[in-house]
């Protein structure tokens, strides 16, 4: 009977496909690491971040951005419990500072602003940032103060849910903001910028300040 033969053939074909699938089908594995795409520009917002003046808490009291007028200021937002991204960024920043000539270096200031003020007190930050370079100052503040400065500069952060022991991580953007000697935000260096790139950005600002 032709219908029966056709059915048999169909069953055979389907079984063969099933076996083939079982043997050869390999689900595409998830990509192990998303390739780090440096964000050249800040993520699209309604208006570009304006930067500008702020007052935060240093170990010796209030610290204002305007305290560093005349210097190129490099601002990084992070937290001291950060195991990888922040120490890497601060190490690269420190390396860049060491590569500058002494007369250049004295016109540069690094600022590390904690996005975890709950745990990072100004005193704690004073232990932390000089380990990388003496010219990096650590600043903290109230949650509201930090949020305002982050918004001014276009930095983002999200505290993650704590584990059973109360330990938590903070997702955060990892750009280094470049402020010119007049206190104006001129741009952001993406995460993992090399010391050479940081040095170039600093020299560009020093040169344009000198030509004015």
């Amino acid at each position: 009977m032709p219908t029966k033969t056709l059915l048999m053939a169909l069953i055979a074909a389907l079984s063969a496909i099933l076996i083939l699938l079982a043997v050869f089908w390999e689900p595409v594995p998830p990509r192990p690491i998303a390739r780090i795409a440096p964000h050249e520009r800040l993520p699209a917002a309604t208006a570009p971040p304006a930067g500008g003046e702020f007052t935060l808490q240093g170990a010796q009291g209030n610290v204002r951005l305007s305290d560093f007028r005349g210097k190129v200021v490099l601002i990084y937002f992070g937290y001291t419990y950060c195991p990888d991204v922040c120490p890497t960024s601060l190490s690269l920043l420190a390396q860049a500072l060491s590569e500058l000539a002494p007369n250049e270096r004295e016109r540069v200031q690094g600022i590390f602003i904690s996005v975890d003020p709950e745990r990072d007190t100004a005193a704690r930050l004073q232990e932390y940032t000089p380990f990388f370079h003496p010219q990096i100052v650590g600043l903290s503040g109230t949650a509201a103060q930090i949020a305002r400065v982050a918004e001014q500069y276009g930095a983002r952060y999200h505290k993650q849910a704590p584990d059973a022991e109360g330990r938590y991580a903070v997702d955060h953007s990892s750009a280094t903001y470049v402020v010119d000697p007049q206190g104006r935000l001129t741009g952001a260096l993406p995460h993992a910028s090399t010391p050479t790139q940081i040095v170039a950005a600093v020299r560009e600002q020093l040169a344009s300040a000198a030509s004015r």
Binding site: T5, L6, A9, V85, L92, E127, E165
Partner: protein
């Protein structure tokens, strides 16, 4: 719908008569089945050969509770392996973590495993995978070594002594600038 091509027919593009097609399919199924049976055996025969290259633990400022271990794991075996666990006496908790950069936002997440494909290597490096050392029991000093025990999905374990030092990225930068000066 295009009918199955007939390899046993004088004209290979012609459609198979049902009987012949059926016989052919059964034959190919048998071959597939044999292949299916043979494959796991060959996978088992190739015992994975894992090597841990250049492990290190990041030196952190005094009083910093967390650090991370980095390394390259090479898999010379013929089957994929997964790093499923890491332990160390220096930290109260040890976790496997990944980083993803989502439009500049660095997200660190715990992962259940880190895959090392057959005949391949996986780098645990800054900005990617790392073994996170949480709540350090003692400060880590440069030059010391940290004992790490890595457990893989096949139950095999690897004991690694990772020196405490500056991050790889920084060392590379230092080498590059030293090279530039010469």
């Amino acid at each position: 719908m295009i009918g199955p091509t007939c390899h046993g027919c004088p004209d290979p593009t012609s459609t198979c008569p049902p009987e012949k097609f059926k016989a052919m399919k059964f034959r190919s199924s048998a071959i597939t089945l044999a292949a299916a049976l043979a494959m796991p055996l060959s996978t088992l025969a190739g015992e994975a050969d894992l090597t841990v290259v250049a492990p290190y633990v990041r030196m952190v400022p005094p009083g910093t509770p967390n650090s991370a271990a980095f390394m390259t794991i090479a898999n010379n075996g013929t089957s994929d392996r997964r790093l499923v666990k890491a332990d160390s006496p220096v930290a109260r908790a040890v976790e496997l973590h990944s980083h993803t950069n989502e439009q500049g936002l660095m997200r660190m997440r715990q992962v259940s495993a880190i895959e090392i494909k057959a005949k391949s290597r996986t780098e645990l490096k800054s900005g990617g995978y790392h073994v996170m050392l949480i709540d350090l029991r003692q400060p880590l000093k440069e030059g010391e070594t940290v004992a790490l025990t890595l457990t893989f999905d096949d139950g095999s374990m690897s004991r690694v002594d990772a020196p405490v030092r500056k991050p790889q990225a920084l060392l590379e930068a230092e080498q590059a600038s030293a090279h530039g000066r010469h």
